[in-house]
C-alpha cells in the first residue's frame, strides 16, 4: 500500500463521483476520473469504484471514455460480475456512428481478460471485420486473436479463419499485416498461417505500401514459402533486392534472413546477399542507439561464423569508442580477434593493448584474453605485449596475463621457452596463484627461481584461503620435486606435513595423502602418475573456429537468440535444432536412423533418446572437457568413415549428435569433438584415429566419452547410436 488513508481516499472519490452536482459539471467530473486513474497508476487499489466508473463511460468526451475503458480493462479480471454490466455500454459504443469510438470500444472490450467474454465479443468482432472504416477492421482482426487467446483450448472457428484469410486482400496495409499476426496466433498449434503462392505473391506486391514494422514481419512470414521453381525464386529475390539496403536495419536483416533461407540451394546467391547486407549491418554497428548497435554486432558475429572474411577490410569499425558500454566493447573485441590477419595484426594488437590499461578491470582482462587468443597464431608479437603489461604491476593485469601464459604454453609448446623467461623475470609479484603454480610445476626445469617462489607459497600456507590453490601447490611441488629434488625436498616435506596434519579441508588433505603415498611407492611410480603431457596443440582445434554452413545459424538469425547468447534461451535453441532442414540426400543415406529415438542393437531392452539442447560454446566445451574424467574408452574396431567430413557432421546431426570441431580430413592423428544430451545429462566425446601412444590399432577409431552427470545407461545408448551411424556411413562409402 503506497500510503495510509487510501481507504479514505477511495471513499471520498466514490462520494464525489456519485454526487449529482459533480456529474452535472462535466469538467469537474472528468477531473475526478483522472484522479482515479492517477491513483490506479500509482498502484492504489481503486477497484471499489467500478460501478461509478462504468456509469462515467457514457460520455461524449473521447478522452474520458478512454480513461474509463482503461480502468475497466485493468479491473475486469478482478471483478468479472461487475464487468459484465459494463459490456452493454461497450456493445452500444461498438455501434456508434463514429468509427473512432467503434474501434476504441471494440479494442477495449477484447482486452477484458476474463472467462466467458467470448460469447459477448464474438458478434461485435464479426461485425467489426466488415466495418467500412479500416481503423475498426484493424482492431477487429486483432480482436480475433485476442478472443482465441482467451480460450486457447477450444476448437478453431473455421468461418473466422476464412474471413481473416479473405481480409489479407484488404486495401489497408495494417489490416493485412494484422491478419497475418492474428492467423499466426490462432493457428499456432497447426503450424501458423499458411503462405501459399497467391498469398506470397500478393504480400510481395504490397511490400512497398507497408510501414517498416510490417515489412519486417511480412518478411518473416515469407520464410515459410518455398518457391516452386528457380525462376520464381529469382523473381522473388530481385523484387526484394532493394530491401537488402533498407534504411531500417531490422528490415535489411529480415530480408537477409529470407534470402539465406530461400537461396539455401544457391550458395553464390547467399554470398551475394551477405555482401550486400554487410553495408547496412556495419551501419547498424555504428548506430546512435547502443542497443541497436549491440544487436548489429551480434548479427555480424553470426554472419562471421560462415564468412569470416566478409568484414576483414572493415576491422577498424570494431575499434571501441571511449563512451561505449562494456557489453558493446566485449563483442567488438571478440570480433576483432576473429578478424586478425597478417596485414592488420599490428594495428589490432596496438588497439587491444590500449584497452588493457582501461579503468574497468573486466574490460582490461577481456582485452588481455583477446590478445592471448591472438597469441596462438601470432605468438611473438603478443608475447612482447603481454610481457610489457607485466611491468605495469597492476594486480588484475598480471593475473590475467599469467593465465594467458598458461593457456599459451598448453596450446603452443613452441612458445614455452619465451614464456618461462618472462615468468622468471616477473615472479616476484605473484598474483594469480593457480596459473602461476601450474606453470612453475610443469616447467620448473626452465625457471631457475621456481623453487624459491614456491617456497614463498609454502611459507605463507597458513594464510592461504583458497583450497584450489593449495591443491595446485601440492601437485606443482611434487612435479618440481621430480625434476629438482635437491632444492625441493625439504619444503615438500613441510608442505605435506602441514596439509596432512593441520589442514581442515578434506580435499586438500586427501590430495596430500595421495602425494605422500605415491612418493612412498618410489620416484618412478610417482613420475608415471603425476607427469602428463605438457601441452596439447591439437586441443587448439577447439578454440580455432572453422567455417560453419549458413544453415547452422540462419534459423535463429534476426531473433533474440544471437543477442542473449544461446545459454539464456534454451527453448529457442531447441526450436532451431528441430527446425534444421534435413536434406533428402541425407535421408537416403540413413533411412533407419532418422528417428531420434533409437533402440540400441547391443542391448535391446534399453532405449535412449538423444537431444541437442542449447548449443555449447567452444569455451564451455573446452572447460568441461578438461574438468571431467574419461568414463569410457572404446575401440570401435573399424576406421573412420571415408566420407566427406560435412556428411559425417550431417549424419551425426540427424541422430542429434552435435559436432563441435574436428581436424581437417587427412591429418594424423585425426580428432573430432562431439556432444549430445540425453535425459538430463550432457555427453561429451572425442573420436580419435591414429594415436601414436597406442600403436597397433592405429587404423581403428577410438571413442573417449565424458559425461556430466554420470549416467552409464545413457553412455551405452550413446555409444551404440554412434557406432550405428559410423557403421552405416562406412558401409555406404565402401
Amino acid at each position: 500500500m503506497p500510503y495510509f488513508g487510501s481507504e479514505e481516499m477511495v471513499k471520498e472519490l466514490k462520494r464525489a463521483l456519485s454526487n449529482p452536482n459533480v456529474q452535472a459539471d462535466r469538467l469537474r467530473y472528468k477531473n475526478y476520473i483522472t484522479k482515479v486513474i492517477r491513483y490506479m497508476t500509482q498502484g492504489l487499489d481503486v477497484s471499489a469504484l467500478f460501478m461509478d466508473m462504468v456509469k462515467a463511460s457514457a460520455t461524449v468526451d473521447i478522452a474520458q471514455k478512454k480513461l474509463v475503458y482503461l480502468y475497466m480493462c485493468t479491473y475486469a479480471s478482478d471483478k468479472p460480475d461487475l464487468a459484465l454490466l459494463a459490456i452493454n455500454t461497450l456493445r452500444k459504443d461498438c455501434a456508434d456512428p463514429n468509427p473512432m469510438v467503434r474501434g476504441l470500444a471494440l479494442r477495449n472490450m477484447c482486452n477484458f481478460r476474463m472467462p466467458g467474454m467470448t460469447e459477448y465479443i464474438e458478434q461485435p468482432i464479426v461485425a467489426g471485420l466488415r466495418d467500412k472504416a479500416s481503423y475498426v477492421r484493424r482492431v477487429a482482426v486483432l480482436g480475433c486473436a485476442k478472443m482465441h487467446s482467451l480460450q486457447p483450448n477450444t476448437d478453431i472457428d473455421g468461418t473466422i479463419v476464412n474471413e481473416l484469410y479473405a481480409l489479407l486482400r484488404d486495401p489497408d496495409p495494417v489490416v493485412v499485416v494484422n491478419c497475418l499476426r492474428a492467423l499466426e496466433e490462432i493457428l499456432k498449434d497447426e503450424g501458423g498461417v499458411v503462405i501459399n503462392k497467391p498469398i506470397a505473391h500478393h504480400l510481395l506486391n504490397r511490400m512497398k505500401d507497408l510501414d517498416s514494422w510490417a515489412q519486417s514481419e511480412v518478411l518473416t512470414f515469407l520464410l515459410r514459402y518455398r518457391p516452386r521453381s528457380d525462376d520464381e525464386l529469382f523473381d522473388i529475390l530481385s523484387l526484394l533486392d532493394s530491401f537488402l539496403q533498407s534504411a531500417h536495419a531490422h528490415v535489411a536483416v529480415a530480408t537477409l534472413r529470407l534470402f539465406l533461407q530461400l537461396a539455401s540451394a544457391h550458395p553464390a546467391v547467399q554470398a551475394d546477399a551477405l555482401l550486400c547486407t554487410s553495408a547496412p549491418l556495419l551501419a547498424t554497428c555504428g548506430a546512435a542507439s547502443r542497443e541497436l548497435r549491440f544487436a548489429g554486432l551480434c548479427h555480424v558475429q553470426q554472419v562471421m561464423r560462415s564468412q569470416p572474411g566478409l568484414f576483414g577490410t572493415h576491422y577498424k569499425r570494431f575499434f571501441c569508442g571511449y563512451s561505449e558500454p562494456t557489453y558493446i566493447k566485449f563483442r567488438k573485441m571478440e570480433i576483432l580477434v576473429e578478424l586478425v590477419n597478417d596485414e592488420n595484426v599490428a594495428l589490432v594488437l596496438e588497439e587491444l593493448r590500449s584497452y588493457c590499461t582501461d579503468v574497468s578491470p573486466e574490460l582490461a582482462q577481456a582485452a588481455i584474453a583477446a590478445i592471448g587468443r591472438i597469441a596462438q597464431t601470432y605468438s611473438e608479437k603478443c608475447l612482447d605485449i603481454l610481457t610489457g603489461l607485466l611491468a605495469l604491476k597492476q594486480d588484475h593485469i598480471t593475473s590475467a596475463v599469467i593465465q594467458m601464459f598458461r593457456d599459451l604454453v598448453w596450446f603452443c609448446p613452441q612458445s614455452t621457452a619465451a614464456v618461462c623467461q618472462t615468468v622468471e623475470a616477473c615472479v616476484d609479484s605473484p598474483q594469480d596463484s593457480e596459473a602461476l603454480l601450474w606453470l612453475l610445476g610443469e616447467h620448473g626445469d626452465q625457471i631457475s627461481s621456481a623453487p624459491y617462489v614456491m617456497e614463498g607459497y609454502i611459507d605463507g600456507l597458513k594464510t592461504e584461503l583458497s583450497s584450489a590453490v593449495k591443491m595446485e601447490l601440492l601437485t606443482a611441488s611434487v612435479k618440481m620435486f621430480l625434476c629438482r629434488p635437491a632444492e625441493t625436498q625439504d619444503m615438500l616435506g613441510r608442505l605435506l606435513h602441514y596439509c596432512i596434519e593441520e589442514e581442515s579441508d578434506v580435499c586438500v588433505r586427501d590430495r596430500a595423502l595421495l602425494c605422500y603415498r605415491l612418493l612412498q611407492r618410489g620416484v618412478e611410480e610417482t613420475r608415471k602418475v603425476v607427469t602428463g603431457p605438457k601441452s596439447d596443440p591439437s586441443m587448439s582445434v577447439l578454440t580455432g573456429r572453422q567455417e560453419e554452413p549458413i544453415s547452422q545459424w540462419a534459423s535463429t538469425f534476426n531473433t533474440l537468440g544471437p543477442l542473449s547468447g544461446c545459454d539464456l534461451c534454451p527453448q529457442t535453441a531447441v526450436i532451431s535444432a528441430a527446425d534444421q532442414p534435413s536434406s533428402s540426400a541425407e535421408k537416403e543415406l540413413l533411412p533407419e536412423s532418422t528417428d531420434v529415438t533409437l533402440s540400441s542393437p547391443d542391448d535391446t531392452e534399453e532405449e535412449i533418446s538423444l537431444s541437442l539442447g542449447p548449443p555449447l560454446s567452444h569455451e564451455t566445451f573446452e572447460k568441461m572437457w578438461l574438468d571431467l574424467e574419461i568414463l569410457q574408452r572404446q575401440t570401435m574396431g573399424f576406421p573412420r568413415p571415408r566420407t566427406a567430413l560435412d556428411t559425417l557432421q550431417a549424419a551425426l546431426q540427424l541422430v542429434k549428435i552435435q559436432t563441435l570441431a574436428f581436424t581437417p580430413g587427412a591429418t594424423v592423428p585425426w580428432k573430432a569433438y562431439i556432444y549430445t544430451r540425453s535425459t538430463g545429462t550432457l555427453i561429451l566425446a572425442e573420436l580419435l584415429q591414429g594415436d601414436q601412444h597406442a600403436p597397433g590399432i592405429d587404423e581403428s577409431l577410438v571413442v573417449s566419452v565424458k559425461q556430466q552427470p554420470v549416467n552409464q545407461h545413457a553412455i551405452r545408448g550413446f555409444v551404440s547410436i554412434l557406432k550405428g551411424v559410423l557403421q552405416t556411413l562406412n558401409v555406404d562409402s565402401s
Partner: protein, 412 residues
C-alpha cells in the same frame, strides 16, 4: 515482434506506467528486472537483454527512465529496440522532454498513446504526425469526439493524410553527411567514415511521388510518398568513388600538455600537500577543409582531470569555458574558416598529491557543421515529382557536413 507488455520505470526501478498488451506474461515479473539489472551492474556485465525464467526483458535507458519490453517468445530483438526508441521519439515529440516528471504530468496522454501505438503486442500507428491529428494534449479542456476520423487512420497510405494542399509546392532537401573519425593518441587515423543521409521536408499537395537523381550513377528512387524519408547509405561505396583512401579528418587538433611544479615555502613547517603542481596546456586546432568553406558552431571538448582547479584560458578566437561537473573544457568557435589554425592555452592548478583512483582518459570530441559542403561530393542532379494534378514544385537543396562520432584520443 510481439512484446507482451511495455513498462516505464524510474531510476529506482519503480513502475511509473505500464501497459499489458498480451496478458501472457505475469505483470509482476517486472520486479525481477531491477534486481537482475543491479546484479549485472555490480558484476560490470550489463546487457540490454536479460532473462528470468522464460521471460526476456529488453530495455533501453532514456534520461532518468528505463523503458522495458517483456516477452516470452523468441521475438525479433532489433525490432523491439526500434519500437522502444520509437516510443521515446513519439513521447519526446509530445512532451518536449521525456523524463520522469513529464510522464507523471501527462499520464493520460501516455496511456492514450500506448493504446494507439501498439495492440496485442504489435506496433500499429507509430507516426507521431498522424497521432497528433487525433490525440491532442488539451489538459483540462473537454473534447467532444470528432465526428470524422482523421483520414490518415483509415487511409491506404498510413503516413499521409489525403487532401493536403499547399499554396506553394516546395521540397527542401537536406543532404547530410556525418563524419565519424577516431584518431589515435599518436596522431594516426584509426578509422574514419561518412554516414550519409538525405532528409526531405516536403510541402507538396496531394499524393505525389518523388524521384531524386544523384550524380555518379547514385540514383535513389525515393518512391516514398512519405513526408520524411531518411536514406542511410554507408559511405564506403560513396567514398570509393571519390577518393580511394579514407577521409581526412576535417578538424585536426594538436595538444601539448606540460606539467611542471614549483614549491612555495611560506611557513617553515609546511607540508607537501601545499606544494602545487601546475599543468599548462596548449591546444591547437586546424581546419583541414577547403578554404572557401566555413565550419559553424565548432565545439571542442577537452577532458581534464577531475581534480583540476583555477582554470585560466587564452584563446586566439572563440571562447573557452570550464565545465567542472563534466570535467571538460569546452572551446567554442562560432565560425572556423577552412585552412586556418587557432590556438588555445589552458592553465590549471593540480594538487600535487596524485589522485590514487585510476581515471579513464576520455578522448577529445569535436562538434561542427559545415554548410554547402559534402566530403563525398554527392550532388542532387534532378528531382521529379509525379502527381495527378501535374503541378510544378520548387526544390531547395542544402548540403551539410557535420560531425558524427568525432574522437581524438589523448595521452594521459
Amino acid at each position: 515482434m510481439s512484446a507482451s507488455a511495455v513498462f516505464v520505470l524510474d531510476l529506482k526501478g519503480k513502475v511509473l506506467i505500464c501497459r499489458n498488451y498480451k496478458g501472457d506474461v505475469d505483470m509482476s515479473e517486472i520486479d525481477h528486472f531491477f534486481t537482475l539489472l543491479m546484479q549485472q551492474e555490480e558484476e560490470g556485465l550489463v546487457c540490454p537483454v536479460m532473462s528470468h525464467g522464460n521471460v526476456h526483458f529488453l530495455w533501453i535507458k532514456h534520461s532518468n527512465l528505463y523503458l522495458v519490453a517483456t516477452t516470452n517468445k523468441n521475438s525479433n530483438a532489433s525490432l523491439v529496440y526500434a519500437f522502444l526508441y520509437k516510443l521515446v521519439e513519439v513521447f519526446t515529440e509530445y512532451f518536449k522532454e521525456l523524463e520522469e516528471e513529464s510522464i507523471q504530468d501527462n499520464f493520460v496522454v501516455v496511456y492514450e498513446l500506448l493504446d494507439e501505438l501498439m495492440d496485442f503486442g504489435f506496433p500499429q500507428t507509430t507516426d507521431s504526425k498522424i497521432l497528433q491529428e487525433y490525440i491532442t494534449q488539451k489538459g483540462n479542456k473537454l473534447e467532444v469526439a470528432k465526428t470524422k476520423v482523421p483520414t490518415t487512420v483509415t487511409n491506404a497510405v498510413s503516413w499521409r493524410s489525403e487532401g493536403i494542399k499547399y499554396k506553394k509546392n516546395e521540397v527542401f532537401i537536406d543532404v547530410i553527411e556525418s563524419i565519424n573519425v577516431l584518431v589515435n593518441a599518436n596522431g594516426s587515423v584509426m578509422s574514419s567514415d561518412i554516414v550519409g543521409s538525405i532528409k526531405l521536408k516536403t510541402m507538396l499537395s496531394g499524393m505525389p511521388e518523388l524521384r531524386l537523381g544523384l550524380n555518379d550513377r547514385m540514383l535513389f528512387a525515393l518512391t516514398g510518398r512519405k513526408n520524411q524519408t531518411i536514406l542511410h547509405c554507408l559511405s564506403d561505396e560513396l567514398m570509393k568513388r571519390i577518393s580511394p583512401t579514407n577521409v581526412k579528418p576535417l578538424i585536426w587538433i594538436e595538444s601539448v600538455i606540460e606539467k611542471f611544479s614549483h614549491s612555495r615555502v611560506e611557513i617553515m613547517y609546511m607540508k607537501t600537500d601545499l606544494i602545487q603542481s601546475l599543468s599548462f596546456s596548449l591546444f591547437q586546432a586546424k581546419g583541414q577543409f577547403k578554404k572557401q568553406s566555413v565550419a559553424n558552431n565548432v565545439e571542442i571538448r577537452v577532458p581534464v582531470p577531475s581534480d583540476a582547479d583555477s582554470p585560466k584560458f587564452k584563446t586566439s578566437t572563440g571562447h573557452a569555458k570550464y565545465v567542472p561537473e563534466k570535467n571538460l573544457v569546452v572551446w567554442s568557435i562560432k565560425s572556423f574558416p577552412g585552412g586556418k589554425e587557432f590556438l588555445m592555452r589552458a592553465h590549471f592548478g593540480l594538487p600535487s598529491v596524485e589522485n590514487h583512483e585510476l581515471e579513464g582518459r576520455p578522448p577529445i570530441t569535436v562538434k561542427f557543421e559545415i554548410p554547402y559542403f559534402t566530403v563525398s561530393g554527392i550532388q542532387v542532379r534532378y528531382m521529379k515529382i509525379i502527381e495527378k494534378s501535374g503541378y510544378q514544385a520548387l526544390p531547395w537543396v542544402r548540403y551539410i557536413t557535420q560531425s558524427g562520432d568525432y574522437q581524438l584520443r589523448t595521452n594521459s
